[in-house]
């Protein structure tokens, strides 16, 4: 299995008929078991790209192709959203089995699968709680378990930790890195946080400001499993600097325009 993001562009047409370009010729691949991070300044169309890949938005041109998946089938993806998007009327357990229910998996099997991912994200004892009874970090764990339980070919994450406080965010990064190593799935992770991108990714796709185009694709050659002390190491910081260089130029240009 390989996902090809094949020359995707996206225009929005406003009421006066004017066109805004959100994405310009985005082209890259996601290999099997690869963790790809897309990083870019705010408003660069990162989320637009993720929605197109998830099949929740249509591209103006270009297409998303899953190689090695039966023709005319809907490739199974799952999305973890920044705002969690948990069903408030469903308990933790019921949220996690949602995708399995839709697939027609029988109840006992649903429960077994759910238990596995509840254990993986560390939610034991919270199965019967409703989302409003959980903290932000807990909610995002539920969302990750829900997405993984659906057994997606590609897991898409749209700034999943942006709504969390800084400490929880760090802890969740370590957890996610471990979860990816355990599941060995293809991940596409969207963020504006460069440290996060380098810590998590096998490759980092750097997008420009609007209209988003690819400035560079940086291969992150750091050993796995990624440990917490990695963030103090020279080679890690080099990658961060490199990507910050791109983003900084973009931000400076934006400032010039505002003046």
């Amino acid at each position: 299995m390989r996902v090809r993001i094949d020359h995707i562009s996206k225009y929005y047409t406003d009421r006066q008929g004017g066109q805004t370009e959100a994405l310009q010729d985005i082209h890259f691949d996601i290999a099997e078991n690869e963790f790809v991070v897309v990083v870019g300044p705010s408003g660069c169309g990162k989320s637009t790209l993720l929605n197109i890949i998830a099949g929740l938005l249509s591209a103006s041109s270009g297409q998303v192709i899953f190689d090695g998946v039966a023709n005319d089938s809907t490739p199974n993806t799952a999305v973890v959203f920044q705002e969690f998007a948990l069903f408030p009327w469903r308990t933790v357990l019921k949220n996690i089995v949602y995708g399995l229910e839709e697939k027609g998996v029988n109840k006992t099997e649903q429960f077994v699968i759910a238990q596995k991912f509840i254990a993986m994200v560390g939610l034991q004892g919270f199965e019967q709680k409703y989302p409003h009874q959980l903290s932000g970090g807990m909610k995002q764990r539920v969302a990750i378990a829900r997405a993984l339980a659906n057994d997606p070919l590609l897991l898409l994450m749209d700034e999943p930790f942006s709504a969390l406080d800084a400490q929880t965010r760090l802890l969740m990064q370590y957890e996610l890195s471990r979860i990816w190593e355990e599941t060995q799935k293809s991940f596409l992770y969207i963020t504006h946080n460069i440290q996060e991108a380098v810590f998590l990714g096998d490759r980092v796709v750097v997008l420009s400001r609007r209209p988003g185009r690819i400035l560079d694709i940086v291969k992150i050659d750091l050993p796995r499993p990624r440990r917490e002390d990695l963030i103090t190491e020279e080679r890690y910081l080099k990658y961060v600097d490199l990507i910050w260089g791109y983003i900084k130029d973009q931000a400076k240009e934006t400032l010039k325009e505002i003046r």
Binding site: A54, G55, L56, N76, T77, A78, V79, F81, E83, A85, L86, F87, P88, W89, R90, Y98, G99, E102, K103, Y130, P131, H132, R146, N150
Partner: protein
């Protein structure tokens, strides 16, 4: 530098909490005592004949009258007649309101057709339609049930429509990304999502149903609370009339209590 004695002589201002009046205080006994005091005053006014009992009978007299009606059982006839009309009309309206509300809220073609129709018919006072309904459906139960159904339908359909529009689009996206199709989205996201608005519609609707059942029974009926109130007024039986009003108040309180309990039961995810 000022010396200590100078400092103590100085004027001073102490910071006060400016929001203190916003912090609502509890008055646990005030509600009950004020209610009792008003009842006692009323009793006194009638007992001392400051107002003729024909216009304002004493509360104790009204209770006695009500007790008498309970013992003979006449009251049950009227209450049952009204209740069955309310329940039938109310149920029809709730089901129709939820179905049509979802239809026009979720699909664009029904929305384009339904919205102007609702906007045009909603402002008509439903009592004004009653003569037309009698013309169409005859003088029996059907026009009474129909007028209640019409009256409850509008707050219901408008609430459900707003509810559907306010379902978080992100939840719909999440459901779609997890493999739901459109009908599954309605069943698993829209329906639970609009439940709070359905209950809000029911609470609004029951008030309207009480109003309309009385109005309909005053036009043409041989039983019901509205009929009872009207005949009592014709015969100057003020006590009996007042009993009717108390029953209406009790029914309203009962339904509100019932809906609140149901809401707690059906919406356990709300604090």
């Amino acid at each position: 530098m000022k010396t200590p004695t100078e400092l103590t002589k100085m004027e001073k201002a102490i910071v006060q909490d400016k929001t203190s009046f916003l912090q609502g205080k509890d008055h646990p006994w005030l509600s009950l005592t004020s209610f009792i005091i008003i009842l006692c005053l009323w009793e006194m006014v009638s007992r001392l004949s400051w107002v003729p009992p024909l216009f304002l009978p004493a509360p104790s007299e009204i209770l006695l009258e009500g007790w008498g009606m309970l013992k003979t059982g006449v009251i049950f006839n009227h209450v049952l007649a009204s209740l069955s009309r309310i329940l039938l009309g109310f149920s029809i309206a709730c089901i129709a309101g939820v179905l049509i509300g979802i239809l026009i809220g979720f699909f664009s073609i029904p929305e384009a057709i339904g919205n102007p129709l609702i906007a045009a018919t909603f402002p008509i006072p439903k009592i004004a339609i009653l003569p037309l309904l009698i013309l169409w459906l005859g003088i029996g139960e059907p026009p009474k049930v129909a007028v209640i159904a019409l009256g409850v339908f509008f707050p219901m359909v408008i609430n459900v429509y707003t509810g559907v529009k306010n379902v978080d689009p992100l939840l719909i996206k999440a459901a779609l990304s997890l493999g739901s199709n459109r009908t599954r989205v309605i069943k698993k996201v829209i329906l639970p999502g609009i439940l709070p608005m359905v209950f809000a519609g029911m609470k609004l609707g029951i008030g309207i149903a009480l109003l309309l059942v009385v109005a309909a029974e005053m036009v043409a009926a041989d039983a019901g609370i509205g009929f009872m109130i009207l005949t009592a007024a014709d015969l100057m039986q003020t006590k009996k009339l007042m009993v009717g009003l108390i029953i209406l108040s009790l029914l309203g309180i009962f339904f509100n209590w019932l809906f609140q309990k149901m809401e707690k039961l059906f919406i356990p995810w709300k604090q």
